[in-house]
Symmetry: C2
Subunit: 567 residues, 2 copies
């Protein structure tokens, strides 16, 4: 769409601003319908972002979008209107703020709760340099569950600096928010809140403007800007998620993240997670489920409805949720902690220190593992095998299909120690079979001098296709479903005769399956080659191009088989 | 010392309780003087722990000690009086709570802020099972900086359970606490506080008892126990850190952790950190320092005094501190974030997502890396090489002595990307020399068929001694100081002629230097053997026995050199 210049915003009447908001909303709807993306959060913040661009001067002033998924209107207003149709596409603009993309993006975000900390750092650097600009952190109320916010607020007063915090209150994170802070915010809106809650942090509270109404927003932002001259300010802005699009207004959790069309023929692992845990929980009263504000996306809504007393949504609190699960386990329960791979990074220390050091039977159900596609760099699930493999006492399973995933869930229910199962969003059901801890599955056995160890559904499918292609060229390979990265199937590995081993994993090359297999074979004389993500962040784009970037294609696997099949 | 039974506590007069407290205090002083340990925090909580054992019934009731360093009186009162003299010794009892040690220890701790989350998990499991006991979280005011506390409190009300939170307020974490929550607590003590701060979380606040006075403590705990019948309670207990030992009362930060005698002839890396950053900061106005409540222990007090405006102690907030440092870097500063290795685990996601994904020039100064000795399992710095190696854009240096550490700090000041330097507490100065990113140092060159790549001061010294011993047996090895784990010195590695490579690292075998070298040599036909910590948590004891457990001894190195020197 056309670029709306700041001069136009500054001169516009309220009616003209509303027209601009309409244009933006239309462009966002059109683009997200085609490319996928975050719909309801962006529809909800159109007026707020326009008003910010009118009242403040970017890029001189800096704005940090917490999580960053609500930055579309900002991108439209800052140099990227003409390329907005490339949103989330390979080589196109990112769906999240990116300093590398524009100087209007002050700080990259993706995970929740970072904006106030980053704003304080940028503001303090400004003060030290004697520069003069404003620093704004736009934070959704869901992030106010996250401990980072309180760490930053506790630190704020002592820093003797000034920032503007915009609390974007839509009463929802990805799942509806609840808990102490949510209730306090509701109290504020009802006029019963206690402003000292923020004042103890040295922040002036300015309350309750309508973030979808310019006549309320503009004076509130001007007042905040004025107050900001002497101290930090929190402006409480109430917005409607999905604003201006009836379906999104009514179904904000369904329209939080919208996928582009065409991939729905596969089944969600999450649906199987819900089904299996329901089945297991019927027969085992110890089974409980913990999530961090992702109940629906993880497939757990039916479980939450069937077993409300054993269902725990901790809010966007990956660390607390991990320790809470460990506490349930210490109390004799069998918790399943379901979470996206990228967000589990938040709980690394808690997995080490609270779950695995005590060898507590918490099962981590790690969704969106491997390449995630369009959400890109901050959301890739490519590090989990590496940062989990190094943790003692942890078993790590990677099912090759949904059927094997079900079998692993069943296995974990009887297993009295930490267990992690990682899987992509979509997969195929596959055939039913039993699974044993640390036992691989031979899919195709040959006398070839190369054996492929493929981990996870994507890699197993690519390897199968690669071996097929190689056979057409007269070469062959033994193919093994390496469904446990830890422990390895050492018994099977000891019997392999081939000189070359090719590992394939939908994860980082450093610290994952390839390294583990190479470590096992260190004195064997075998050559272990590995396919996986090289040592770089994986940008947004479609999953197949991300896999291709890691050499994870059937063609590449076939090529290697042909090269090494005869020693 | 003798075991004081609960019957004795229950029957004791105030004077007799004071006498028991005196006995405990004497035993703690005697044991910590001999074995090292946490002195002031334990002296401060003697009366509180005795009173808890009188009012509650352990192990039926459960108590979770946040951080856990203040559990000595609890250990004396629960089955471990007769073995208390083995505190922190190899094979002796741990200085932290350990479920494996006694059923009186309800949950293992070591890192700050976990107790409320764990208590909620245990309490909820109790409710679900219909059991009847109390769950107590004893939390120091320093932990109230940590975001985990707020995540847990936000979650508390919705959980519909009951726990007792004891806020142990001594006005100090490891460094003096400050910030929003601290000021609020001071307000409570002055009678100006706002109780709704906790009531918004659904917690009843009971204020201000003297935690070193049984006449104040006992009725306060009885009242808390009564209130606990209907809802969660926070009892605010004011204690004096170091109570009963004049030097510790006056110098609580010096006596927070006390080392056993005999190791002080070496120099602290931390002292060199302070010296070098002072020197660099004089010539470079961009240099700033960030810590998470560990200013003194990290050697940074002189820097904080010389450059207060560029010094930031964020409190026990490892995550926030990381993002704040990233914000400073985005604002044009050159922050050095100093922290213990074990605590940096807390910030794994922030290093990935906020520092390295944006390639921001934050330098991580990682103290207490490798084996830490008596603090044991929860404090070992053995995972850092593994969880840092997998992060793109990060350079990882491991100096072989303090002089090389100084050179790395100087190098990092000119380096415009993330840089991590990890080192143990103590070392030797060594000779001055330059250092280049990713360049190893050849210490001893031979035609032997084995080359040792040793990383870090401990391993380099052990390897040197091992090669010396091997030479006495007629064998020799090339010895290289592998002072960068990332990037490797690929140029040098490419020229090595020996068939056997032995890596030595004071870190976990999975994911560290050995794996990296093996990955590099994957198609070379070389055999890469590795010494480091096997896949298990490393228990407390002295450092030399921990190194020995990993095979990191001169004798073992010599043996391998003799075995492989002639191919």
């Amino acid at each position: 769409m056309r670029r709306v210049e700041k001069t136009e915003l500054n001169a516009a009447s309220i009616q003209e601003l509303q027209n601009i908001a309409g244009e933006m909303r239309e462009e966002i709807l059109r683009t997200v319908s085609a490319n996928g993306g975050h719909l309801s959060s962006n529809l909800g913040t159109v007026e707020l972002t326009i008003a910010l661009h009118r009242v403040f001067s970017f890029p001189k002033d800096k704005i940090i979008f917490d999580v960053g998924h609500q930055c579309y209107t900002h991108k439209l207003l800052s140099e990227r209107a003409s390329v907005f149709h490339t949103l989330r596409k390979s080589g196109g603009i990112s769906g999240f703020p990116k300093r590398s993309e524009s100087e209007y993006d002050a700080f990259d975000t993706g995970h929740a709760g970072t904006a106030i900390s980053a704003a304080l750092g940028i503001a303090k650097a400004r003060d030290l340099k004697g520069e003069n600009f404003e620093v704004i952190a736009l934070v959704g109320d869901g992030s106010f569950h996250n401990g980072l916010i309180y760490e930053a607020l506790n630190n704020l007063r002592g820093l003797n600096t000034r920032i503007l915090i915009l609390l974007n209150d839509n009463g929802l994170s990805i799942s509806p928010t609840h808990g102490g802070m949510h209730d306090a915010l509701e109290g504020f809106k009802a006029g019963e809140g206690d402003l000292r809650l923020f004042e103890q942090y040295g922040v002036k509270y300015l309350g309750g403007c309508d973030g979808n109404d310019f006549t309320s927003l503009l004076p509130a932002l001007e007042e905040a800007k004025e107050c900001l001259k002497t101290q930090s300010v929190l402006l409480h802005v109430v917005t409607k998620k999905g604003k201006g699009y009836a379906f999104a207004e009514e179904s904000p959790t369904q329209t939080h993240g919208v996928a582009a069309g065409g991939t729905q023929e596969k089944k969600e692992y999450g649906a199987a997670l819900g089904e299996e845990l329901m089945r297991l929980a019927k027969g085992d009263g110890r089974i409980a489920v913990v999530t961090a504000a992702m109940t629906d996306a993880l497939g757990l809504r039916p479980f939450f409805e069937a077993f409300p007393e054993r269902s725990f949504d901790a809010g966007i609190c990956e660390e607390h949720a991990s320790i809470f699960a460990a506490g349930l386990a210490a109390g004799g329960y069998k918790p399943y902690y379901a979470i996206y791979s990228t967000f589990l990074q938040r709980a690394f220390d808690e997995i080490v220190h609270d779950i695995c050091a005590q060898n507590l039977p918490v099962t981590l159900c790690i969704d969106r593992a491997g390449a995630v596609g369009e959400d890109g760099q901050t959301h890739q699930g490519v590090f989990d095998l590496s940062y989990l493999s190094l943790i003692p006492n942890l078993t790590i399973g990677i099912p090759a299909d949904i059927s094997q995933f079900r079998a692993m869930l069943e296995l974990s229910a009887k297993y009295d120690a930490p267990f992690a199962i990682r899987y992509p969003r979509l997969g195929t059901e596959g055939r039913k079979r039993a699974v044993e801890i640390g036992k691989f599955e031979i899919l195709h056995s040959t006398m070839s001098d190369i054996t492929i160890l493929a981990a996870g559904e994507r890699c197993v499918r690519i390897a199968e296709e690669g071996v097929k292609q190689a056979r057409a060229c007269g070469a062959d390979a033994t193919l093994i479903n390496a469904c446990f990265v830890k422990p390895l199937d050492e018994e099977l590995l000891s019997t392999l005769k081939s000189k070359y081993i090719l590992t394939m994993e939908d994860g980082a090359l450093i610290g994952g399956l390839g390294d583990a297999v190479r470590r096992f074979y260190k004195e064997s004389g075998k050559t272990v080659l590995s396919l996986g993500y090289p040592d770089a962040f994986v940008p947004h784009g479609d999953i197949s191009s991300q896999l291709k970037g890691a050499g994870l294609t059937a063609e590449h696997a076939a090529e290697l088989v042909v090269k090494y099949a005869r020693g």
